[in-house]
């Protein structure tokens, strides 16, 4: 036993000497181990693909990742508690048609319409998200099933609300805001996505709620037996996912200026892919939202880069699919590496 203690004190002093490096490695591993992968991919395409490393191209990438980043930010919360939310794509569609319908209503002034549309879109998403969570907890159902049901329900509702047609003619200030570009490279919708990610990061890292998200994902029963109600937090997490679907719907309207009941098909899978590539564990408890942002970037950079390289459109999904699986394989090694770092 004394030998054991000696070892541990040694570990302590050792940790002090290399603390700066250890800290850097640990933070980069914890928050975004995949950042390294992103940098490598960027370097590869910069060297090989024509026009890749140009401001115009990055502007394009930023425009394209905004929606997925917002959806994936909410999805990160759900996956962290060990759930999944398949409904976000069609929630997005529903929210776009609700938002667009309100915006083109001539009874409101343009600004009134915009504010009301934002509130209605986010509110609809949040409420249906809460319904997802409530059903899961009330009847102890897997979120996979419940949100699969919601996927269909929301999609149907979107068709009903829009009368099965696209809605155009959004107010000019709204369209203008969607076209704004800051510092020549950052589109407004990308900045919205970044704000969402930063808020999510702050909530997960610094709040009591964030602590519960990780704790429930790690061991829900232990949290319950510590005198808490995991149920409440899980419903809140699905509400957040619905809320981000509502925000993503507004981002969609800003980008494409059209509300459509067939928007968002398959978006939930892209969001899940971003979360998983970002290093969040599907079984819950481990992961980070910064990783998710990086994951979303990797997906889009790969897609754009391959296109610029002149790759066949049929090849792209093959590469992206392989990268998703590879990310999960690498992640299992990352877990081991973290443990080595911790016990060193």
């Amino acid at each position: 036993m004394s030998a054991n203690i000696e070892e541990q004190t040694e570990a302590k002093t050792g940790a002090k000497e290399t603390s700066v490096w250890d800290k850097l490695i640990r933070i980069s591993m914890k928050e975004a181990g995949v950042a390294i992968a992103l940098i490598l991919i960027l370097a590869f395409f910069s060297a090989t693909a024509p026009y890749f490393a140009t401001p115009e191209n990055f502007l394009k990438i930023f425009v394209q990742i905004a929606i997925n980043t917002v959806l994936a930010a909410g999805m990160t919360f759900v996956i962290l508690v060990g759930g999944i939310d398949l409904s976000v794509g069609s929630l997005l569609a529903l929210c776009t048609v609700i938002g667009a319908t309100i915006m083109i209503n001539p009874a409101f002034s343009p600004w009134q319409a915009i504010v009301l549309a934002c509130l209605a879109s986010m509110g609809t998403g949040a409420i249906l998200g809460a319904v997802n969570g409530w059903i899961c907890e009330k009847w102890k159902l897997p979120s996979f099933i419940v949100t699969l049901g919601m996927l269909n329900v929301a999609s149907g509702l979107a068709r009903v609300v829009s009368d099965n047609s696209t809605i155009t003619g959004l107010p000019q200030p709204f369209v203008d805001f969607g076209n704004l570009i800051f510092w020549g490279i950052f589109p407004s919708i990308f900045l919205i996505a970044i704000v969402v990610v930063l808020i999510g990061w702050f909530v997960l890292r610094y709040t009591v709620f964030g602590r519960f998200v990780f704790a429930i994902g790690t061991n829900e029963e232990a949290v319950r037996l510590s005198g808490h109600q995991p149920k409440r937090y899980k419903i809140a997490v699905f509400t957040i996912s619905g809320l981000t679907a509502g925000i993503a719907a507004m981002v969609y309207l800003l980008r494409l200026n059209v509300g459509s009941p067939v928007a968002g098909i398959g978006y939930e899978l892209n969001a899940i892919a971003a979360v998983i590539i970002g290093g969040t564990s599907l079984s819950g408890g481990k992961g980070s939202i910064i990783g998710t942002l990086v994951g979303a970037c990797i997906l889009q950079v790969l897609s754009t880069g391959l296109q610029l390289l002149g790759a066949d459109d049929n090849i792209k999904p093959i590469v992206i699919g392989a990268v998703i699986v590879l990310a999960v394989i690498l992640d299992s090694y990352r877990g081991r590496l973290m443990r080595i770092l911790e016990t060193r």
Binding site: N4, Q8, T218, V223, L225, G227
Partner: protein, 511 residues
């Protein structure tokens, strides 16, 4: 006491164990066990909780492999590496918990290991015919096409026995087969066991119900602390003799009793607690400054009772009082808010978030204490965690270390730390020292005494009788879901406690 030979030569033994040893991390489960089981006999295996019975069965059933020694089965060396091999060699273990393939039929369950086939497809006609024959042999009156999920436990047991018949098993091991049977079902089981005996099948029988062993057994083997005590014919033994053989451990490991706290006033009161609607009423109390132990066999309802008190599982009825005040407890949330805490028996699955840090595990019980406006104050969290790590002498290089890497003793200390952080009035511990090394055990006993000295009520469930005798002011003995008795410290006596623990099981079958 020496081995009394079960007369006969080696040829008469179906099973011989020689110098069997089995170790698990931190525990010696079996040590130099040598014994013989006579061919065609009904052999009974007895021992207290943790005596090594389950380990022995699992060795025979191919679940574990022994670290030392060897086994001869039917004259041949026997070392199965899987349950399937054990079963092919002729040993069938019927575990206490049966896991049938619930969505398949009785016939499919029976013949699953080799379904009759024709042209590579299952021959259902043949299968159902053979199953019907087997079922008749064990006197089970159900159609072969019934789904296994519709059978009672007693019926499932008979299916298992029929399975043994079908494959002509030579040794049938039954682990607590009567634990959940009605007395009529028990009679039928014994009837069939007798018939099997006539066919030359040897049985190894484990039971808590000392009365019934005389009906099924010819010989008995007693284990104690993983060691062989005796193998002898049952004839000439009475129940008190058997209890005497099972006890008699030396008291050790728990140091000198230091529960010199002032004991007065009720800390925890339990009146008329019913775990389920049909379970007996339980009433007891723990005084401030008192450590009360709950003894009893595994499965005697101790864990269920403390979980019901804490609200971890719903209870059917009962009043709980804390410091004299009645409290409504419907969930752990209510219990914790009222000042009650429970360190569960399974600390890895229920007590800790293994991949989270020592600090995060410690503060989960009271995050309000380390947060302001919903934001966690890291500095406050670290200060509290550091203080508790020092106080409980948790060995870790950093409070940010994941508790997965901790030893069992240190993990248990983290569980205690998290409840200490909450500051409860009454602490309930379920198996607080299971799987923990001797040094850490002593430290945990120190902590229990310290809680008592601080005028908290402490309730300890433990299967380790010497441990309870070493640390408690009073011991409540559970038997078959009831409270069989209560013993004060000055009257502690291992064989008396054990007799109480077996009391209700002996009563079940009256003749």
């Amino acid at each position: 006491m020496h081995e009394v030979d079960v007369s006969g030569t080696a040829d008469d033994d179906i099973l011989r164990l020689e110098g069997i040893g089995k170790r698990f991390p931190g525990v010696v489960a079996l040590k130099d066990v040598s014994m013989r089981i006579g061919r065609g006999k009904g052999h009974v295996l007895l021992g207290e909780n943790g005596a090594g019975k389950s380990t022995l069965i699992n060795l025979l059933g191919g679940v574990f492999r022994p670290d030392d020694g060897h086994i001869l089965f039917d004259g041949k060396p026997y070392h199965p590496s899987s349950p399937l091999e054990a079963f092919k060699a002729g040993i069938r273990v019927i575990h206490q918990e049966l896991h049938p393939l619930s969505n398949l039929t009785v016939a499919e369950n029976l013949l699953f290991e080799h379904l009759p086939r024709r042209y590579g497809l299952v021959n259902y006609k043949e299968m159902n015919k053979r199953a019907a024959e087997l079922l008749e042999e064990v006197g089970l009156d159900v159609a072969p096409t019934t789904l296994a999920s519709r059978l009672s436990v007693a019926q499932l047991q008979l299916v298992e026995i029929a399975k043994a018949l079908c494959y002509e098993s030579k040794l049938l091991v039954l682990d607590e087969p009567t634990a959940t049977l009605t007395s009529k079902e028990v009679d039928r089981l014994f009837e069939i066991l007798k018939r099997l005996k006539q066919r030359g099948v040897t049985t190894l029988y484990i039971s808590h119900r000392l009365e019934e062993i005389f009906e099924v057994g010819d010989d008995v083997t007693v284990l104690r602390d993983g060691q062989h005590v005796i193998t002898r014919p049952l004839a000439g033994l009475a129940i008190p003799d058997i209890v005497e053989l099972m006890v008699g451990r030396k008291l050790s490991d728990h140091g000198i009793f230091r529960g010199d706290s002032v004991v007065s006033g009720e800390a925890l009161g339990v009146s008329g607690l019913k775990v389920t609607r049909h379970s007996p009423e339980l009433s007891f109390s723990v005084a401030k400054g008192e450590i009360v132990g709950i003894a009893g066999l595994v499965g005697s309802g101790r864990t269920e009772a403390v979980r019901a008190i804490f609200g971890a599982d719903a209870k059917a009825a009962g009043e709980i009082r804390l410091n004299g005040e009645p409290v409504e407890i419907h969930s752990p949330q209510d219990a914790v808010a009222a000042g009650l805490c429970l360190a569960t028996e399974d600390r890895k699955m229920q007590g800790l978030m293994l991949d989270m840090s020592c600090a995060e595990n410690t503060t989960i019980t009271d995050l309000a204490k380390i947060s302001r406006n919903g934001l966690i104050r890291r500095r406050a969290e670290e200060d509290h965690a550091q203080r508790l790590v020092r106080e409980l002498r948790i060995k870790t290089p950093s409070i940010r270390q994941a508790v997965r890497t901790f030893s069992g003793g240190n993990q248990q200390k983290v569980v205690i730390a998290k409840w200490l952080f909450r500051g409860p009035k009454v602490l309930i511990f379920d198996e607080p020292t299971r799987g923990i090394d001797v040094g850490a055990k002593a430290e945990i006993y120190e902590l229990l005494w310290k809680f008592a000295a601080e005028r908290k009520g402490v309730l300890v469930v433990s299967s380790d009788l010497p441990e309870l005798i070493g640390i408690c002011h009073r011991i409540i003995v559970f038997s078959d879901g009831k409270i069989a008795g209560e013993i004060a410290r000055d009257q502690f006596d291992e064989s008396r406690i054990l007799s109480l623990a077996y009391k209700e099981y002996s009563r079940v079958r009256q003749h």
